[in-house]
Each structure stands twice: as C-alpha cells, then as structure tokens.
Assembly symmetry: C2
Homo-oligomer: 396 residues x 2
C-alpha cells in the first residue's frame, strides 16, 4: 500500500492541508507505534507512551513559541466553538476568584468568529459586552477593516473587564490583527484572551502579553478534534479559588468538568481520554516546524506567500476586488472577488484544471478565498499567483 | 513504508485495539482519500466527501442496530465525560419542554462511571438524585453486583424523573447490566438514558426502549475524540420548546452550543468542525462489522470469548478470584485477582512474554482486567485462556 502522494495545492480554509511527511509518519504510527506492535490510537491515554507524547508536545510548543514560565500549556477535545464556551465560563470564574466581584467581559468584534464567541458568552449568561463591532466603523457596514485604536480606546480606559477577547485572524472575512491593541495589552488589569485558531505558529508573538491563547488544530497545526491552550498560571489559581456555590450566587454557569481548565491542567491534559492520535499528529507538525527552522523561518515564508498573492491581485485593480482594507489584510486567508459578473464558476473550474482547489469563498461572503496556512509552500502559492495572472489576462 | 503488522493481543480497557484492516485503510486515506490527492483529515467538514461520510456512518449504524424511525443519530466531539455534562443539561431541558416543570434525574449507580455521571449532573446544578448505589446492597460495600429490581423498584414507581440514567457496562469494575430494568423501560413516562461507551455493537439491543444512547468511540468503535448519540426525536422537539430564559428561571444551565443536541442534529453533526478522520475510522469499523455478519455474528463471538475466559478462571477457584457476582459479570471487561500474594508482577511479565498486554487492572481496583471488545478475536482470547491456565498450574 503506497503512502506517496503528489504535493497537494489545496487552499481550503480548514480542515487544511498538512505536511505530507507528517501524514506519512502518522499513517505508519496508526498501525504500529514505536515498535509496540500496536497503533498510537490503541494505547491507554495514561500509558507511558501517551504521557511521553503529551510531554513532548508541550515541550515542543514551549520551544517554538518561547513560552515563559508564567504560562502553562494544555490540550482539550473540541475546537474553536467549544473554546468559545469554555473560555467564557472559566475566565468569568477567574475574575470572581481574583476580585470577589463580577464584571463584563469585553469583546472586540472584527468578523464572524469573534461575533460568534461573544454570542456564546451571552447565551451562557456570562456577563459580557461588545467593546466595538468593526462593522460600525465603515460606510459599508461590513467586516472589512479593524478600526484604529484611537477610535475606541475610550470604551476601555478606566473600565473593568473580566477579560477582553479578540480573534487574531478572522478566516471568513480574511481580516487579521496586525498588532495587538496597546490599550488592552498595556493595562495590567486586563487579561487578553485570544483565539489563534488560524494563525498560531504562523508568526512570532510575545506570549507574555496574553492571558489565554486558544487554538483549534485544524488550520496550521493538525487534524480537527483537538484544541491547544496557553494560559497564565495566575488565571488557573484564580479559577481554583472559586467554589461552585459562589459561582452559582453570582449566576455564572459552572464549566462542564472536561473543560474546567484547572482540572485539565492538574491531570496533564488526560482527565478524560485525550485523542492521542490527533495529539500525536499535532506533535509531528511541531517537530516538522522545528526542523524547518521554527516560527521565524515559517513567518518569513508566510510573509513572502502573502506578499506575492496580494501583489498580483493588486496588479489587476480593474479585474480583482480586495474587500479588506490593506492594514487589516490577513496573511492566512486572502479574500477577493471578480469585478466582472458571471466568471466565478469559470475561475474555480480553470483553477481546478491546474489542481488548485479549495478556493471558493465562505458562503456568507461569496467570491474567493485562498487560505495559505503553514503547510502551503511558497511554490504552491506561486502556482496560484501564475493562475491569477493568467486568468486576469485571458478574461479581462 | 509497510502497513503490515502481526495481529495484536492487547487487552487494554481503552483506547482499545481496532481491526488491522480498518487501520490500514484509514492510514491510506490519511494521505489520499478517494483519489482526491488529499487526505481525509484535510478536507472541509462541509464538503461533499465529508457529508457523504457523515451520511454513510448514520446509515451503517442504523442498519447495524436496527434503529427505528422514531430515533435520530448524531455525532459529537468529546467522549463519555463530555457526554455526562451534555446529557444532564439537554435532558433536563427536554423535561422542562415537555412538562413545563422540573424533576430530579434518577441515577442507577453500579460503578465509577455511572457515579461520575451523577456527580457531574450535580456539579452542574441539574436537579438529580441517586436511585440506588449498588455498593449499599452488599456486605462488602463494593461495586460487585447489580441489585435485583425487586429491591429498589419502589424508589421509582409512581415517581417523576426528568430521565433515568444507567451505564450498561462499567469498565473499571467489570459489571454489566445483563438486561434492562423492567420498572424503567415499562414506564412510558420515563426516558432511559444509557451510556453504552463500552458495549455498543457488542450485542443486539432494542433501541426503541431507550430515550438516549451515548457511546464514546474508543472501545468498540474507533479512536478517542468522537461520541455517537442515538436519541428519540420527541426529546429533540422537547428541548427545542424551551428558550434559554425559561431554563434560566428554572436555574438549569444552558448547554454550550457545540453540545446542544437540536443544534447539532439540525446541522447534520457539522455545526462545528466534526473530526472527520475519526468519524471515517468509525465508519470503517461499521463496514467491517457489517461484512463480518453484523451485530448478531459479533454477539455470538463475544459470548464465546467471555465464556471461555470466565470458565478458565472459574476452573481454578483456589488460584483466581472473581470479585463480580455471576449475574453482573461483564462480557467486555473480565476482572480478576490472584489469591496468592506477590505474584501480580510475575503474571504481567509472563503474559507479556506471550505478547499478551494491557492486562493490568484499573488503579482504583487493582488486580487484572482483560478487556475483550469486538476487535479482540476468539483466537486472541484463546491464547489468553491458555496462559491463564498455564500460569495457574505453574504457580499454584
């Protein structure tokens, strides 16, 4: 049975392409891991081999992201959506633990994922408010940019928040925070909670600025079904200070046990059965990235990929439309439309003939979206660039 | 790269051994599914291929379990522990939707898993009570049997419960309900909610008797990280009748959105990103079982496996001890201890020399446990039987 394949050029937004050598190793390990005579998915999550994978994943991530000792790493089942729920209830509890009071969580809404996360906090009766919705800051009433800090910092300064939430990269609309808002990270009383599901390990970040980082695996780091968390240890301590009775008095919901951060950390991510195969794939992605030169090398490649793609789209301003304002353009999801009507299907068909797939835009936005996560090589993006050029020349 | 392996003889309680041909196919599909040039874990969960896997898994399960039209099948991230939480809040909501009132959920506690499930409902502030704890019905004060219905049916008859919960097979203690309690299944006002994580598809059952069946994948049906649910459609309708404000008035927690059963069903198990590789493995297990002759053939083999294993242990009553009373013995997890002290390590070492692994008992019980789920062949169990006999003869 062959495990060879031609390098795919799939630009889907996720679950996304993974490095072929990672999948080949994972496929082998699915049948026989470490010469155990047994596959990696068939062993106890409390066995020596499983524990070693958990430890190794933590260590590799700490090395890749330069995670300080003030922060802890853990893994949980689920994805971003389960993260929206667990972040809201755990962080609300942490604030009660720290202050003996409640306060609203503040959400910076820049696209549909941050909006969904806010809606989930509200649905669960976690006190929360929208600090700004970027739709309100442009004439189009759309998610097309991130308003300058000067326009909304007054809504933050001097106020108390249980935490402030943002989604670093909005995959649907192709919008990315190119730098963190200073009024949040410079305020020592605010814990920044960030969804990095679609840009984790794509560029260097300063972990010390975050209270919690949450990232679903299925874009840059693995298969669907697993989420990684990096959390400030003091937040864990604050959650532990609160007993369920106190939470109940404050009308804040108790987090389901499998998603209670202190419980998961105390049990080294194996309170319940961690999907060890999925974690192993994630760890293979980490090892692959370390071998490639780490996040620094990856960032350089990602910048180059995004540059040539935006450059070619910008080069045909009468043919391609880029809805997102330049300062908020995502380096991971490049969203564009055709100015001429009636060509959309042809674009996808012609692309598919060159084996360029996954380019259809999200159903709520339309047009096209090229997702260029870590596993997409510069050579693959160059093929797409060539096609975008050829298509414009042939059809304009 | 070889995907061959010697048939393992691993008796771990889970994550457990899977059929080798299932893993071989899964390994191939991890790199290139259906000649897409892309692996099954790399495609959108809303793509045609992913949808086809979801539909096929549902159909295959319906065929295997003869699921009536009154019931719906869906899949969710997580395992049993996430199930404990989501069952409690969804079913409490369903009762409010049906009756406009609240009532306690009733738990039949026969081992540590049903106890954990009760504790989670309580922790989440879902109204609940223990109908019986089997520890209270024997002199040892241990989980070693299931009390006869006549001893506890008075606690059920004429009373109202939002649902009644049981765990069909307790993996830690090796205790199994060999038939469902009549006082529960014959009461049309009671919804039976059952955890079948460790005995699903191991024997024929009458699905119409259950309100909800929940089963984590990692014992009989696949890899960790996915749980299947079979639910009476009327329960879904009842949950939908309740809005969050009413729930809040009744002080019942809102279920996190990724675990809200009606939302998941309406979105065909893809409200959030379903771990499609893990579901594919589950579906391959279903197909493998259909080819083997379905649940009927599997049940016959499982009965034979359990019989020869218990028979050989019973044949050496001075050497082996079987803590569980015969009428509650599990056909999936055979728990035993050695009467002589100081031989435990030797037992495991000698077994390992014959490549018989995973036999150590749960840390809370000690001794040994042979888990003989569907993927363990009769031939593998015969090897274990031979070893158990030889060990007794050599060491008694």
């Amino acid at each position: 049975m062959s495990l060879e394949r031609e390098e795919p050029t799939h630009f889907g937004a996720g679950p996304a392409q993974l490095p072929t050598e990672v999948l080949q190793q994972a496929a082998k390990d699915l049948l026989n891991y470490n010469n155990l005579g047994l596959g990696i998915g068939e062993i106890s999550h409390r066995s020596k081999d499983a524990t070693q994978i958990i430890e190794s994943s933590k260590q590799n991530l700490k090395e890749l992201m330069n995670i300080p000792d003030t922060h802890e790493v853990f893994f949980m089942q689920g994805g971003g959506t389960t993260g929206f729920s667990s972040l809201a209830t755990n962080l609300a509890a942490a604030y009660v633990g720290k202050t003996g009071q409640i306060a609203n969580a503040g959400y910076l809404v820049t696209g549909s994922w941050s909006l969904k996360s806010f809606q989930e906090a509200k649905r669960l009766h976690v006190p929360c408010e929208i600090i700004f919705n970027s739709k309100d800051f442009n004439d189009e009433g759309k998610f097309v940019d991130i308003p300058d800090e000067s326009l909304w910092e007054d809504r933050v300064k001097g106020k108390k928040f249980s935490y402030v939430y943002l989604c670093e990269n909005e995959t649907v609309h192709g919008i990315e925070w190119n730098q963190l808002p200073k009024c949040i990270v410079d305020d020592p009383n605010i814990e920044l909670v960030a969804d990095l599901s679609s840009d984790i390990l794509s560029r260097k970040i300063d972990v010390s600025k975050y209270g919690v980082i949450m990232a679903g695996a299925q874009k840059n780091i693995g298969l669907a079904g697993l989420t990684l968390y990096i959390i400030k240890k003091s937040i864990l301590t604050n959650i532990e200070k609160v007993d369920d009775t106190l939470l109940h008095e404050f009308d804040i919901p108790v987090t389901p046990i499998a998603f209670d951060y202190p419980t998961v950390v105390k049990n080294n991510s194996a309170y319940n059965t961690i999907p060890i195969f999925t974690l192993h794939v994630m760890n293979l992605v980490f090892e692959h990235l370390i071998k490639k030169g780490g996040v620094e090398a990856q960032e350089k490649e990602n910048d180059a990929k995004a540059k040539i793609l935006y450059d070619i789209l910008d080069a045909y301003p009468n043919f391609y439309n880029l809805p997102v304002k330049p300062n908020a353009r995502s380096r991971m999801n490049v969203v564009f439309t055709l100015k001429k009507e009636g060509l959309d299907e042809k674009f996808l068909k012609d692309a598919a003939e060159r084996k360029l797939t996954g380019l259809k835009g999200h159903r709520s936005v339309g047009g096209f979206r090229a997702s260029i996560y870590n596993a997409l090589t510069l050579a693959s993006v160059e093929k797409l660039v060539q096609f975008i050029k050829d298509f414009a020349v042939e059809n304009q």
